[in-house]
């Protein structure tokens, strides 16, 4: 009889244990948007003027006299016509590069800002 009671108690406890439930754990994830990167503007250029003087055999004396009159050192930093062409085209290439870079930045802005 005693053994029967023990078995009954054990079985009852098993049945009762099966009634217990575990509440499902729910995880909520919230996507936080990336903070906007605010970059500073580039420094604005303030270029100094450059004056070109074309020196030919005909005006070389006149050019040097003019320098003397203006009390400017008698040394000219010269370029041939080919050298001048090269420097002009180099400048144009630099401008081209800046414009292309600006276009790329604008394209990135257009693409990624449209996404937002």
């Amino acid at each position: 009889m005693k053994t029967y009671n023990i078995v009954l108690i054990i079985l009852t406890s098993f049945f009762l244990a099966s009634c217990s439930t575990i509440q499902e754990l729910k995880l909520l994830t919230v996507d936080e948007p990336r903070p906007t990167l605010v970059v500073p503007e580039v420094d604005q250029l303030d270029m100094d003027n450059i004056t070109w003087v074309i020196v030919t055999p005909e005006n070389v004396q006149e050019v040097f006299q003019d320098l003397k009159d203006k009390n400017i050192r008698l040394a000219l930093f010269s370029l041939t016509s080919n050298g001048y062409q090269a420097i002009s085209i180099n400048n144009a290439n630099i401008i081209k590069l800046i414009k292309q870079q600006e276009s790329i930045i604008a394209a990135y802005e257009q693409y990624y800002e449209a996404e937002e």
Partner: protein, 152 residues
């Protein structure tokens, strides 16, 4: 009397067993039906999400193509400026060859004026590209348009 009770007990047990099996079958089939319904709902949500993703993806591809086309047009335009300058040094407007050195030798005053004006434009172009505000006069200047348009 006792024999009859035994029959009843057996019948009751059998009935209870059948009822138990039926109940279990009902519960199980309901559970399965719920599972199918949940799966169906999940599938529908999945299909809807996929459809939305496909629409977004198509819009992104369209925008990417537009952006690339615009970018290529900008690149072509920027290369055109360099080619035009190269041409100015080597070719007259009527297509004849130009010797820039010879021109400078013959018309030094005129060439000096032109190159000084050109240099001023180039330097101003650098300033405009760095963000300087163009003046009213510069807004009308054809030679500076390619530097101003790029800012906008």
């Amino acid at each position: 009397m006792f024999g009859r009770l035994k029959v009843y007990i057996i019948m009751f047990s059998a009935f209870a067993m059948f009822a138990g099996v039926a109940y279990w079958y009902y519960q199980d089939s309901q559970k399965q039906l719920q599972g199918y319904a949940k799966n169906q709902a999940k599938l529908e949500i999945g299909i809807e999400l996929q459809r939305k993703q496909a629409v977004t993806l198509l819009a992104d591809i369209k925008l990417m193509n537009t952006t690339l086309i615009e970018l290529n047009e900008d690149f072509v335009e920027s290369r055109k400026q360099v080619r035009e300058l190269e041409k100015t040094f080597t070719e007259k407007k009527n297509g004849e060859a130009r010797d820039f050195g010879k021109l400078a030798e013959q018309k030094s005053g005129l060439v000096e004026k032109i190159i000084n004006s050109g240099t001023a434009n180039v330097l101003r172009c650098f300033e405009l590209l760095s963000g300087a505000t163009p003046t009213e006069k510069e807004n009308q200047d054809e030679n500076l348009q390619h530097c101003i348009n790029n800012i906008n």
